[in-house]
């Protein structure tokens, strides 16, 4: 098989597999599990074969009109994103099988779960703005049934909110996408910007600023930037495998990914640096960091607290991106990867807690750590990493972000660096109080909540252990991955 054709296999395979599962008559749970896991593993293998084979090329599926084409290709950024996602998906599935148990709705659940894998791959491999936009919308649509899985009032409402926010945002982003596509003749991503040689005459400064802000907030909806972030905490009404993989990693990171594509590969940082749009983007991302961290401290629902923390951390990435320097992109990229790893492990631990105790509030955690020692040990590792304690991978990305902020100079970047440290304090409060409650409950024995705790299944523990190991390994040996990220940030890949 020729390479370009192989490129669309990881996109098509899960979609076809999911459709087949959806229209087939009911299957026993075990058969569904085996089927889904096999497809996901094959898919990941294909992705890794593509990445490791080192071939680069593009494949145009079809052209709509002259400039509008659906085409895919691999470059450094897409390789990074797809590689990360394809590592996580099979592990998350393994966890999901034990978490979901047996239920009549599982067939639908797993088919949409699988379909969103293919769609995320499509988003990662997309070669131009129109393709990116298309998969962006598809990802929204395919995850709505996952949010409303429990079909109760709360989750149905969460699904509606989710759809309203994300589809509206994408519509906003559609305007700059078409503009750029027409003006550049195809809109194929190019490091450093589409208009490197000369600007079209009728594009004034104000129009560029407006277009960038449209796309920043439009694609930024998935990255939960401040006024548009309410959907994310609500979406934790979904089952934990969805919250963990989609709403801490895949969906939200695809928002960040899209903003990166827009900023560094379409508009170009040189065009935007120093403009009003950069100032606005920086201001909003800095505000979101602090605001979401404060909200997380206030929140008493375990998963919603983590969701607010995701909002805060996504803004770290947006802050890095909107510095418009190579260092900023490096910081954003490394936080994209490391935050994914950390947040996965935190959410999966929260899921084990909820699954094994049937409780979901922070004040119900008192003393549970004694019954679920491994789970909460992994949680603590994740928490320390998220704060930015050296020795864990969160430190590496914070280091990159802060150095970028300090080196960029100027008021807003330094303010952002200070806000980063401030939110790290808040992060210590909202994550560590949970582990302290779990291991050393502050109240007397009456408030001990660890009486009825089931033992977690092995299949749930394996993924969290893998993520904890990755967390420590990448924290101690960041040189295994950082040179690669630096190359991407410099446009060498």
């Amino acid at each position: 098989m020729s390479f370009p054709f192989l490129l669309i296999i990881p996109i098509i395979l899960p979609l076809v597999g999911a459709t087949a599962l959806l229209i087939r008559s009911p299957l026993p749970q075990k058969a569904i599990n085996r089927y889904v896991e096999v497809i996901a593993c094959i898919n990941s293998l294909v992705v890794w074969y593509l990445l490791l084979s080192g071939q680069r090329g593009s494949y145009t599926l079809f052209s709509l009109v002259q400039d509008f084409s659906i085409s895919f290709r691999i470059d450094g950024l897409s390789a990074l994103f797809s590689g990360m996602i394809s590592l996580m998906w099979p592990l998350a599935l393994l966890y999901a099988f034990s978490y979901m148990g047996e239920d009549r709705r599982n067939k639908r659940f797993f088919s949409f779960y699988l379909a969103s894998y293919g769609i995320t791959m499509g988003l990662a491999f997309s070669a131009n703005l129109i393709t990116l936009y298309l998969f962006f919308e598809m990802l929204t649509l395919s995850t709505i049934p996952l949010i409303s899985y429990y079909e109760d009032h709360e989750s149905l409402y969460a699904g509606r909110v989710y759809a309203a926010y994300l589809i509206g945002g994408a519509a906003l982003a559609f305007i700059p996408a078409t503009f750029l596509t027409f003006l550049s003749g195809g809109g194929d991503f190019l490091y450093g910007g589409l208009f490197q040689s000369e600007l079209p005459v009728f594009l004034s400064r104000e129009i560029i600023d407006l277009l960038y802000l449209f796309s920043f907030f439009g694609f930024g909806v998935k990255a939960a930037v401040f006024p548009l972030s309410a959907w994310l905490p609500r979406a934790s009404a979904a089952p934990t495998p969805v919250t963990a993989l989609l709403h801490a990693v895949a969906v939200v990171n695809s928002g960040v990914f899209a903003v990166m594509r827009l900023t560094y590969y379409s508009f170009g940082p040189d065009l935007l640096k120093g403009s009003t749009s950069q100032t606005t983007a920086l201001l909003f991302s800095i505000f979101t960091m602090v605001w979401a961290a404060v909200m997380a401290v206030k929140e008493r629902h375990f998963k919603r607290r983590l969701a607010y923390s995701t909002v805060s951390n996504l803004s770290y990435m947006l802050f890095g991106i909107s510095l418009m320097t190579e260092g900023g992109l490096l910081g954003g990229l490394s936080h994209l990867v490391f935050h994914g790893i950390i947040k996965m492990s935190l959410f999966l631990c929260a899921g084990i807690f909820m699954h094994c105790t049937g409780k979901e509030y922070i004040y119900e955690i008192n003393g549970v750590g004694r019954r679920l020692p491994l789970t909460f040990a992994v949680y603590t590792i994740g928490a320390l990493s998220l704060i930015g304690i050296p020795g864990f991978c969160g430190f590496v990305s914070k280091w990159a972000l802060l150095t970028a902020g300090a080196e960029a100079g100027g008021t807003l970047p330094v303010l952002g660096a200070a806000a980063l440290i401030l939110t790290a304090f808040l992060c210590a409060i909202y994550t560590l109080t949970v582990s302290l409650r779990a291991f050393f409950p502050p109240l007397d024995k009456d408030h001990f909540c660890g009486q009825e705790v089931e033992k977690p299944q092995k299949a749930m523990l394996i993924p969290i252990l893998v993520f904890a190991a990755l967390n420590i390994f990448l924290g101690l040996f960041p040189r295994t991955i950082m040179p690669y990220l630096t190359d991407i940030a410099h446009g060498a890949l």
Binding site: M295, K298, F395, A400, A406, A418, A419, L436, F440
Partner: protein, 683 residues
């Protein structure tokens, strides 16, 4: 190679010891002793030749470690203290085996991390190991899991996090300014071009970050809380070595990047003098054996910081000879304090092990009879720390004092302030003597007011075994040896790498005078204040029937009438003296309150409330105007109800946070940080 071994052995053996202790906790303790002994032997080899270890690929900045005089001595001191405390643990934990293997696990991890800090030669290595030991020593504080221990543990943990993050910020500023984190390179770069405002800000961040662990004002709050609740061997380590880890970071900053920077020196001097005086006062007022020792540690850290600042001030005026003499003094005082606190905390461990009590009124007269080794060791350590001539503390304190005097001469414009600092120094030294005298006389000289209890103290058959006796006696002997000028000079010159200390003659009249003034002040304070004001006589019994006031609030009369009664009662003191004293006590109480609760809580809770109500206010505003939520089916809510519900939810959610002292503290630091950020932007 040797350094790698020293680092790997504790980290690798920690989980093994943990696993060993799952069945029989004592066996993990024994394995811990073996590991620390091995570590001790390995650190002895550090004195042979130069060792270095560089791992450039391990971290964002790369790790590098090396040895020199100071580092080698402190690596040895660390492993020696670990060896002594783990030998002592064998007896101390005999009856309390719960969680012992967890304790040993973290003791060994902290050992590895401490050696890492003490041998580090770039900021990255210092920072990494510093954070590891911050978190691993948290489990020592919380070990007994009583409510008090948990509370102290929370405070300790959050202060450690604050310190770590402020330090992080400082390092980022430093690296963005100079591009390197290696001590040597930083020294060269900043010698060539004098440090600007940004580097200074970085230095102050670093100072605060390390100061949090050293127990420096204003981040000392964890120290008097955490030391008394930890098991005694752990408090010996916390006080003797972990505070020195913080000092190590400050010392490295003063030696390399910000050498001869007078502003930085002045900042350390101010904070150091406050720490010194405040710690001494708190120790004087304390009525708990371990709390007194903990506050005393804080005060001694202040002495060391003052020494470091005088080094900076002298060096910036080109007085390198005097500067290095002061530096040797500061290093010697670190060493002396480590060893003295080892003896004293282990001695308090003996008391805890036998009586399970720490209040002075309960342990009154415990050491009177039949405990000669215990008595002698305690006495030597007490004399050492009070700076009595012929003991080690006298030498190092005299060196520090000399530094202050020289600095006052050199900095003519500021000589008045420095003279003031010198007097605070002498008075703090006097208070040190007073509270050590208070402890010694209370435990070893006077009789307990209850006859039966005194009898049970005197007739107790054995109070510690031979091993424990050795590990208390041996460091006490060291205290004695370090008190000889020859030993002190040799070690001081070796540690500071400069022969300046060789010309120091400790027993001239000029030097003796300072010590004697200090001791006289101390004796007076003991006789007049401690015996006069802190002891409350009970009418029923005659001699020896008095008790110490428990804490400061007890010492101060509650109302004015009480004040008047006290004036009548204390005829020995002149009214004037009393008046001054009461002002002093009130001031100290005020400072105590400031740094403890009232002040912090008010500011912090106001700030917290503001920052937390802000998002709610925005939401309420939006909900009531633009984005009105659709009512849930069948439920009717009007606007005010909605707002009320939201606000109620807010207060309820926030109550536990506002009640939490650590959180309040954190928010204050957030405030400090905001101000710092604003300053940075202005700079």
């Amino acid at each position: 190679m040797l350094i790698a071994l020293i680092l790997i052995i504790p980290f690798a053996s920690a989980p093994i010891c943990y696993a060993l202790g799952r069945k029989n906790p004592m066996s993990s303790c024994r394995a811990g002793v073996l590991v620390t002994a091995l570590e001790f032997v390995l650190t002895l080899f550090l004195f042979q030749g130069d060792h270095s270890l560089s791992l450039p690929s391990l971290f964002p900045g790369g790790l590098s470690l090396q040895t020199d005089g100071f580092r080698a001595v402190y690596a040895l001191v660390a492993s020696f203290m670990w060896l002594c405390t783990s030998l002592f643990s064998l007896e101390y934990f005999r009856h309390e085996e719960k969680g012992l293997n967890r304790y040993i696990l973290f003791v060994l991890i902290t050992l590895g991390a401490t050696e890492g800090v003490m041998l580090s030669s770039n900021y990255m290595a210092t920072f990494l190991f510093f954070e590891i030991l911050s978190f691993s020593s948290f489990t020592w504080v919380i070990h007994e899991e009583t409510p008090g221990a948990v509370r102290a543990g929370y405070t300790y943990l959050f202060i450690a996090i604050i310190g770590g993050l402020v330090l992080f910020m400082g390092l980022i500023l430093l690296v963005s300014d100079t591009g390197t984190l290696d001590y040597g390179e930083l020294h060269q770069i900043l010698q060539a071009s004098p440090p600007g405002g940004r580097t200074l800000a970085a230095g102050i961040c670093i100072l605060l970050g390390f100061g949090a662990k050293a127990g420096m004002f204003p981040l000392h709050i964890w120290l008097p809380e955490a030391h008394p609740v930890a098991p005694s061997p752990a408090s010996a380590l916390l006080s003797g070595i972990l505070t020195k880890v913080g000092i190590y970071g400050i010392l490295m900053t003063a030696l390399y990047p910000l050498a001869a920077c007078p502003v930085f020196g002045a900042v350390i001097a101010v904070l150091g003098v406050i720490t010194m005086a405040l710690g001494a006062l708190l120790a004087l007022f304390s009525c708990n054996l371990k709390r007194t020792l903990a506050c005393s540690s804080m005060s001694q850290i202040g002495f060391i910081l003052t020494g470091i600042s005088m080094y900076e001030l002298l060096l910036s005026r080109g007085e390198s000879e005097a500067a290095f003499m002061t530096l040797s003094g500061a290093m010697l005082h670190m060493l002396n304090h480590s060893i003295i606190k080892l003896v004293l905390f282990l001695a308090s461990g003996v008391v805890v092990m036998n009586l399970h009590r720490l209040n002075l009124n309960d342990i009154w007269g415990y050491g009177r009879k039949g405990k000669p080794l215990f008595k002698l060791s305690f006495a030597i350590a007490a004399l050492g720390i009070s700076g009595v001539p012929a003991f080690n503390g006298y030498l190092s304190k005299t060196l520090l004092h000399e530094g202050l005097v020289e600095a006052a001469e050199v900095w003519g414009n500021y000589s008045l302030i420095l003279k003031g600092a010198e007097w605070i120094f002498l008075i703090s030294g006097g208070i040190t003597f007073a509270y050590m005298l208070k402890l010694f006389i209370c435990i070893f000289v006077e009789r307990n007011s209850s006859q039966e209890r005194q009898a049970s103290f005197d007739s107790a058959p054995s109070y510690m075994n031979r091993i424990s006796g050795t590990v208390i006696g041996l460091p006490a002997l060291l205290v004695f040896i370090l008190g000889t000028p020859f030993a002190a000079k040799t070690i001081g010159a070796y540690m500071s790498g400069s022969p300046a200390i060789g010309e120091f003659s400790p027993f001239t009249w000029n030097n003796l005078k300072g010590g004697l003034i200090s001791l006289t002040i101390g004796g007076l304070i003991y006789l007049l204040i401690v015996r006069g004001l802190f002891m409350k006589g009970t009418q029923s019994t005659g001699k020896g029937g008095s008790v110490y006031c428990t804490g400061l609030s007890d010492a101060l009369p509650p109302s004015l009438s009480g004040l008047a009664r006290r004036f009548e009662g204390q005829k020995l003191l002149s009214y004037c003296g009393q008046f001054l004293f009461i002002i002093g006590v009130s001031l100290a109480k005020f400072l105590d309150r400031i740094t403890h609760l009232t002040f912090l809580l008010t500011i912090a809770s106001a700030f917290t409330k503001f920052i937390c109500i802000l998002p709610d206010a925005i939401i309420v505003l939006l909900r009531t105007t633009a984005v009105r939520e659709r009512p849930v089916m069948g439920e009717k809510r009007n606007r005010t109800d909605h707002m009320k519900a939201l606000l109620k939810d807010n207060t309820e959610a926030f109550r536990p946070v506002l009640m939490n002292f650590s959180f309040a503290l954190m928010m204050t630091c957030v405030g400090i940080l905001l101000i710092l950020g604003a300053l940075l932007i202005l700079l």
